[in-house]
């Protein structure tokens, strides 16, 4: 067995051991049972949550919100990035602003969005869109700007028109970067969507956690948190694979 596999095993073993340790300490009364439920109870609560709390339907709802946000991100973010690249003076004026936007705590505006769009799916989708927009624009711009000069020279040596130069050289060369940007935007969107679902107690998975917390269903709540963490890990991994599949040849 390779050292790497052994290491992986050690990592997982540590986690399992920690769970057992927590279980033991709880049963011994060392840790307060009112703030940490028994790991065994949490595991037992999992199937119950799936059935009673319609986890699958909630997962579907959150996914739908993420899907809408991603469509908006692609439809708005990529063209904006292209425009910033096309018009140099606009790029010089606005690029640092978009950079600042990327660092800004956009999700803090959720009360504002609540007022504008009401307590609805639209609010959640719009926050996801707003949170993920900056990386899409920036990565699209970066990809276009980073097209190797020699490739543009090849285009010029074959006397391509401006439109041909864009569609046949700049855009294909920028595509890997565009996908990276879309993935980043998607992840930001997902994180903020689930977060806002929790905060405004509306929507899919995020709302589930809030509800279980308000019901003081401790094992259920911990179980739901596990679900959400698992779902976001899955999302992260799948998008990574898709991104890698989409750009194998650079």
């Amino acid at each position: 067995m390779t050292t790497r596999a052994v290491a992986r095993g050690v990592g997982i073993a540590t986690l399992v051991l920690a769970a057992f340790a927590v279980e033991g300490l709880l049963r011994a009364g060392v840790i307060n049972r009112f703030i940490v439920p028994l790991p065994s109870q949490v595991l037992a609560a999992l199937p119950r949550i799936v059935v009673e709390e319609h986890v699958l339907a909630r997962f579907g709802q959150t996914s739908l919100e993420v899907l809408w946000a991603s469509l908006l991100l692609a439809a708005a973010g990529i063209p904006l990035g292209v425009m910033l690249h096309r018009y140099r003076i606009v790029r010089l004026a606005c690029e640092s602003w978009v950079g600042a936007l990327a660092a800004a705590p956009i999700v803090l505006m959720y009360p504002l969005f609540l007022v504008i769009f009401g307590r609805s799916t639209t609010t959640i989708v719009m926050i996801g869109f707003a949170a993920g927009l900056a990386p899409v624009i920036l990565k699209t711009l970066e990809g276009l700007a980073a097209t190797r000069v020699v490739l543009q020279d090849v285009g010029r040596s074959f006397r391509l028109s401006n439109a041909q130069q864009f569609w046949k050289i700049l855009l294909p060369a920028a595509l890997p970067s565009v996908f990276v940007g879309l993935r980043l935007g998607l992840i930001f969107a997902m994180i903020n969507i689930v977060g806002v679902e929790f905060l405004i107690n509306f929507g899919g998975l995020g709302q589930l956690i809030n509800e279980l917390a308000e019901r003081y269903d401790l094992p259920g709540m911990y179980g739901a948190i596990l679900f959400v963490v698992a779902a976001s890990i899955l999302f992260f991994d799948v998008t990574e694979r898709v991104e890698r599949w989409l750009r194998p040849n650079t």
Partner: protein, 256 residues
């Protein structure tokens, strides 16, 4: 030279034009009554609310609370993240064992852990600081581990060939070499610490900037909400830019 100056003058004018356009458009929207009146309050109302806030002791009291919480979160999360990151970066076995967890846990919404934090740390500042700490730990540990690994091995060999002591290696080789990526990680960490702390304040608190924002929402005092959000954004972006300046290193030698 003249061409470049010409361009930057144009850029400045374009920026002014864009800002002016947005402000005028906003005021027009406010006046038109197209949207429900208070959703887009007039600029003067916002400015007045801003002035009132900046003149009130209550505002600064809450601002201090938030700053304290964010500062504590960054200090604890930063220290833990740096220590863990350096350990992971230095030891490949540890990295293979534990870094995947951190890598995959990173992009998850941390706010969902807030109910747990409340139970463990209470409803006062403790749970907010915990939220901020949890948020900023991840980007810092990941960037510290990467920074350790990215140190050009040649530099380490140079240090060893001159028989530098471990302390000398740490302070004269490792730390300077890692400065840029770690500063970047801290910049990210600050961003998410602010978000985590403030969101926690909006959810359950009776102090802090997040609490003020939710209060404005609950009382439908829109100009005040805009004013508070403007302050928060200016502070966040400013802090981010400041830390970014700290991280400007000398250009590394290009290896062809």
């Amino acid at each position: 030279m003249a061409a470049a100056e010409h361009m930057s003058a144009h850029v400045r004018w374009l920026r002014i034009a864009i800002v002016a356009f947005v402000l005028i458009g906003w005021e027009a929207l406010a006046m038109s009554g197209l949207l429900f009146r208070d959703v887009v309050p007039s600029l003067s109302a916002i400015v007045r609310a801003l002035a009132r806030a900046l003149a009130s002791g209550e505002f600064y009291g809450n601002l201090a609370v938030t700053l304290g919480e964010v500062g504590a979160a960054l200090a604890i999360g930063g220290a833990a993240g740096l220590a863990a990151g350096i350990a992971l970066g230095a030891n490949r076995f540890l990295s293979w064992a534990y870094e995947p967890f951190l890598y995959y846990l990173g992009p998850t919404p941390k706010i969902i852990f807030f109910p747990v934090m409340i139970m463990w740390f209470g409803v006062a500042s403790g749970s907010k600081i915990a939220m901020g700490t949890l948020s900023c730990f991840f980007p810092i540990v990941i960037s510290a581990a990467a920074a350790m690994r990215e140190i050009d091995p040649v530099l380490i060999r140079v240090g060893r060939s001159f028989r530098a002591s471990p302390w000398q290696m740490a302070t004269r080789i490792y730390l300077p070499a890692m400065r840029a990526p770690i500063v970047n990680g801290v910049r990210l960490g600050l961003g998410v610490a602010i978000i985590g702390t403030l969101l926690a304040e909006t959810k359950l608190s009776n102090r802090g900037m997040g609490y003020l924002v939710i209060q404005a929402y609950a009382t439908f005092d829109m100009p005040r909400m805009y004013a508070l959000l403007i302050v928060l954004f200016v502070l966040s972006i400013g802090a981010n830019a400041l830390i970014g300046r700290l991280g400007l290193p000398h250009a590394p030698v290009q290896r062809s």
